[in-house]
């Protein structure tokens, strides 16, 4: 052990015998000389412009800058080691008091000359560092302000820093060097070796020039320890006082006695080592917003660029373009790229704003390093679309949007898996874990969120999922797509000369229904519903031929599925088969999704919502009502005005309609002087007159609780039963992180059928209950779970739906009041029978009413009771389900509730919805009983729409109401 200690000591001592003072002076001379040469081409008015120009087109100046930089770094390191060496030897005792004072003072100027050099880059890091250093110096009592201004000037003005850097601080250091050095000039050999080392490093490595895009802000390496300390210290004055205290201690070393001297030096050594550790932490373990991050998970480190001087491309210096106040090398090669909207023209924002890479080099490889080939994904949107120069307000909104969080999907799924007591709460897809519910979502559903990363070139198709900003705004022109297909062919087959596409896909507001289709053709299937397609499980020959055609052309041009109009079938690119149904009336009028759904509800308004319907702002009555709120162009908010300008949707200074509840403008609508309201379809630019609702919708009390959807939804798709199980041996895919995994969830659903929606009750925020439309959200059996193999779950949950299958006429009275499916009993035979217990207690007096057989009949076919005394005559509804009863809850497989039964709380996917209770069922069927005799358009039924209670009071002797 003693031998080892001796060896260690010997190494330390022999290391300190290196001529650090000589190296320090040699480095200082090299730094001064290279600085003098650099000053010739350096423009202090715009330092960033100077340095970026050197990096792009001036290898000589770049090499000089590298030499200047590396000489300065070596000067700092060698000077510190020189001081450590002399403190170790105790030579400070031999120095005269005045010299020692000036040597102590020079420590400040060493750091000043270093940090001023860093500030003179003028890049993003430097600007932030300048703010910090100014604030720190302003903490100094009495002289803080004048000292700060004298050393660093005001922000944005580099003149004072420059003068101090090249003159004041340098002269002081030279003076101290000459004054204290026993040997004025370094040894020639040391100078040569120092220069050679600096030169070789400078040939390959450049100091980083922060481009302003990278959100990691770091100071120079020697101040990373200070940055780490400042992260923990709330009052910067403590740091200033401590630094001053260290300088004083250093000065007093000369006068300390042996024991004190040794103790102080030991403490200083420990502090120095601790500071080195802090530098290491700051360099490698701190990322964006100074958060702790592992080195391999972030773009951190010492920020040195590998940029060999001999890699400089030969370039016509006249072709260096400047955009957004910075030189950008990308445009020197890519200046012929076309296909953009005016706001995204390369002349306006360059390439780098979106694609990143390295804008400060013309070497192809280095320029393209760390480039984002498909920008706009939410994972990089903060650095691309969402930077403070572009759309900083929108990206955080999209982050919080329900299309990114999937909050509703997560809560409902956890509720189904008994992992939540109620289907409510705020959740984020990114936080999904590996519970049964979350693993199920990750395996089967999690790709449908806007944060899913787009990794392949090409337009948004039926197969697309997510893509961030691209999901809605990416559009390929025919020529752009053609060029891309040729390029893909070249990459794949390498059969012909490569032609790099020069027609760029566009990013604009032409958001077609195809953009929404990929995700919204699943689950609630509103995209397919809207266009008039319902999913089926049929595999007839004609469909198989369509499927083959689809599968034979898996290329970029097949953006849409093939539709066989004659056979009324459609096979999607994912193989699912759909059958033609009546389309939504708005679709038939040429309206796209974005004609109703405004930016604030698609991209979100910044708030987090538990379920999707909470993020939706638009209501049918915003267009179809007699009342309206309007807003003029001048009073529009910034975003809406921008959209109006881009879409050119203003008509003759007319006012825009407002969404009444939220006061948000419908920027594609207007109301003219006569009070007529119009909507302009955003893509096709058709003008459609907006009509007020029919009188039947707004008159009377009978239906005042009904939503528009309740009557005007033509059809919904039912899937009444699904079995889900986990297969641990299957190969699955984690859709959240896009990687293959072991184990998968398999769903087997029953057949689909199309019918009117089931109706139920929804409580609005105001507390008012309305009747709305529902479908089976999940009538599901789950077994063989991932984490609890023996657990089995059966759930019967209906979900509120907005089917997007609106028609103009609305459904018939009987389709609700005499329809078991509408009330919630499921498909079956709903019969109204009249009994006379006096004449024949066992026999029904009347024939029944069969909805399925007589749906279009307006007059019932039974005989009225003849007797005037009806005390023993009564009517009774009965129901015979079409489907078998499930043993789990004794309800038919498609039912929501039992006939004339209340249900438990856990029967819907929302906490504010429920099926009809018994009292409500009786009231519906009471009208249903009337409709068994009275035609829908009869006077009595029309009157009952206005005031049913009054009608009931004057019923004839012939009427028999349900008991």
């Amino acid at each position: 052990m003693p031998e080892n200690n001796f060896k260690k000591k010997s190494f330390f001592v022999s290391f300190l015998n290196y001529p650090f003072g000589n190296i320090s002076i040699a480095s200082l001379i090299i730094a001064i000389l290279s600085g003098v040469l650099l000053a010739i081409t350096f423009n202090v008015q715009n330092p960033l412009d100077s340095i970026s120009y050197w990096l792009l087109a001036d290898p000589a100046s770049t090499l000089l800058r590298n030499i200047h930089y590396w000489a300065a770094q070596l000067f700092l390191v060698a000077t510190i080691l020189h001081i450590v060496d002399h403190l170790h030897r105790g030579t400070e005792k031999d120095v005269k008091n005045g010299i020692w004072f000036r040597l102590t003072l020079s420590l400040f100027f060493i750091f000043y000359v270093m940090i001023s050099g860093f500030l003179l880059k003028g890049d993003s890091d430097s600007v932030q560092a300048g703010r910090i250093i100014r604030t720190l110096f302003e903490q100094i009592p009495l002289i803080g302000n004048i000292l700060t201004y004298s050393l660093f000037g005001s922000g944005g003005n580099y003149q004072i820093i420059y003068v101090n850097h090249i003159a004041t601080a340098t002269i002081i250091l030279i003076f101290v060097w000459i004054e204290h050095s026993r040997q004025l000039y370094p040894k020639v050999s040391v100078f040569v070796y120092t220069f050679v080392v600096i030169f070789i490093i400078s040939l390959f490595f450049s100091a980083n020039l922060h481009d302003g895009k990278n959100t990691i802000v770091k100071g120079p390496w020697y101040f990373l320890g200070l940055q780490e300390i400042l992260h923990w210290v709330s009052e910067p004055i403590y740091v200033v006082v401590f630094a001053f205290f260290l300088l004083v201690i250093f000065y007093l070393l000369k006068f300390a006695h042996q024991k004190t001297d040794k103790a102080i030096k030991y403490i200083l050594l420990c502090l120095g080592l601790l500071y080195i550790i802090l530098i290491f932490i700051g360099a490698f373990f701190r990322g964006e917003n100074w958060k702790y991050v592992l080195p391999w998970k972030s773009d951190n480190g010492l920020r040195i660029n590998y940029l060999p001087i001999f890699s400089f491309a030969e370039v016509d210096t006249l072709k260096i373009y400047s955009v957004l106040g910075r030189n950008e090398g990308c445009l020197s090669c890519h200046n012929n790229v076309k296909g953009f909207e005016s706001s995204h023209l390369p002349e306006a924002i360059g390439c780098y704003s979106c694609h990143l890479g390295n804008p400060y080099t013309l070497n192809k490889d280095y320029a393209h390093s760390d480039m984002i080939f498909i920008p706009g994904n939410l994972s990089d949107a903060n650095n691309t679309c969402g930077t403070s120069d572009c759309h900083p307000d929108i990206v955080p909104r999209v982050d919080n949007s329900i299309m990114n969080t999937l909050s509703g999907m997560i809560s409902v799924n956890r509720f189904v898996f008994d992992e939540l007591k109620e289907p409510k709460g705020l959740f984020k897809a990114q936080d999904l874990n590996q519970s049964n519910a979350d693993n199920h979502l990750r395996n089967l559903c999690a790709s449908c969120h806007i944060g899913n990363v787009k990794t392949e070139y090409g337009p948004i198709t039926e197969r697309s999922r997510g893509g961030g900003c691209n999901a809605c705004h990416l559009n390929y022109s025919t020529e752009a797509l053609k060029q891309l297909i040729n390029y893909e062919k070249f990459v794949k087959y390498k059969t012909h000369n490569i032609n790099i596409p020069n027609i760029h896909p566009n990013l604009n507001l032409d958001i077609s229904d195809e953009h929404c289709f990929g995700c919204h053709s699943r689950s609630g299937r509103i995209s397919t519903n809207y266009e008039g397609w319902s999913e089926i499980f049929s595999f007839e020959d004609e469909i198989k031929s369509l499927r083959q055609i689809n599968n034979s052309e898996p290329n970029l041009s097949s953006q849409k599925t093939i539709v066989d109009i004659n056979s009324n079938y459609r096979v999607l690119m994912d193989g699912r088969v759909f059958k033609k149904q009546p389309a939504d009336v708005h679709h038939n009028k040429g309206m796209d999704c974005i004609d109703c759904h405004i930016a604030q509800e698609i991209m979100g308004d910044g708030n987090l919502y538990e379920h999707k319907e909470e993020q939706v702002k638009i209501q049918c009555t915003d267009c179809h009502s007699y009342q309206s709120k309007t807003i003029s162009y001048n009073n529009l908010d910034y975003e809406s005005r921008k959209i109006v300008d881009l879409q050119k949707s203003q008509r003759d200074n007319n006012k825009f309609l407002l969404i009444q509840e939220f006061n948000l403008p419908l920027i594609n609508s207007y109301q003219n002087n006569k009070g007529y309201k119009y909507l302009i379809t955003q893509i096709k630019k058709d003008s459609l007159q907006l009509k007020p609702p029919a009188s039947i919708c707004i008159e009377g009390k009978a239906h005042e609780r009904l939503s528009c959807n309740s009557c005007h939804t033509q059809w919904v798709s039912y899937c009444a039963g699904c079995h889900t199980e986990y297969q641990p041996d299957g190969k699955g895919y984690d859709l959240l992180v896009n990687k293959e995994i072991n184990g998968r969830w398999v769903e087997t659903s029953s057949d689909f059928y199309v019918d009117y929606p089931t109706l139920g009750v929804k409580k609005e925020k105001s507390g008012k209950e309305i009747i709305d439309t529902f479908i089976p959200g999940m009538i599901i059996t789950i077994d063989n779970m991932k984490n609890e193999k023996d657990k089995k779950i059966f759930k019967r949950l209906f979900a509120p739906t907005v089917a997007h299958t609106i028609n103009k006429d609305g459904r018939s009275c009987k389709s609700c009041h005499n329809n078991s499916l509408a009330i919630g009993y499921g498909k079956g035979k709903l019969s109204y029978k009249i009994f006379d217990t006096e004449t024949n207690p066992q026999t029904k007096l009347n024939s029944n009413y069969d909805l399925s057989a007589n749906e279009n009949k307006n007059v019932a076919n039974h005989k009225e009771p003849r007797r005037s005394d009806k005390s023993n005559i009564f009517g009774k509804w009965s129901f015979k389900p079409q489907f078998a009863i499930r043993r789990e809850d004794n309800l038919p497989k498609d039912a929501w509730i039992g006939f004339m039964q209340n249900t438990n709380e856990n029967s819907t996917t929302r906490i504010n919805t429920r099926p009809f209770n018994v009292d409500e069922q009786k009231r519906i069927l009471l009208v249903g009983a009337c409709l068994t005799c009275h035609a829908e358009n009869s006077n009595v039924m029309q009157e009952s729409l206005i005031d049913f209670e009054t009608v009931l009071k004057k019923i004839s002797k012939k009427c028999v109401l349900p008991e």
Binding site: V127, Q128, R131, I132, R134, T135, L136, N145, I146, Y149, S150, S154, T215, I216, V217, Q227, L230, H231, W232, V233, S234, E235, P236, E288, N289, W290, K291, N382, G386, T387, S388, P392, D393, I394, P396, R397, D399, N400, Q600, D605, G606, N634, N635, L636, D637, Y638, E639, R641, N663
Partner: protein, 141 residues
Amino acid sequence: MNMLKANFQINKLSRKEFLKKISFLLFLPIIWLWDSSIKQIIKKDSVDNSILIPSNLPAGVSFFGKAAVVKENNKLEVFSTSCTHLGCRIKQIENGKFICPCHGSEFNLQGEVLKGPATKPLRKLKYELTSDKKQIKIINA
């Protein structure tokens, strides 16, 4: 005079040594000049720090260099983007929070500190609508 001479003689302080001792007083006028000139230039630099921004802002947070405008429920609040810890410029929000890129301080959209090292809330800036109501003038940004 005699007494002064006597004192010099008592302390054996020569004229040369006396001048050496009081020579630092020569710095006083220089410091005064230094202080005055810098105060004047600081005064000149801070004549008008107001900035003009459009009044029809989107909901949420908009950044305008030295100022961030928070628009919620049609209510505007303007904050300085200078972090109250060490003056770093805050340029973005994350999960509804202003975050300082330099040392990680976090503030909510009301400017209050959520996480240190900063301890003071973001400085609220005064603003006024221009006469044509199309712009907002942020004062003393």
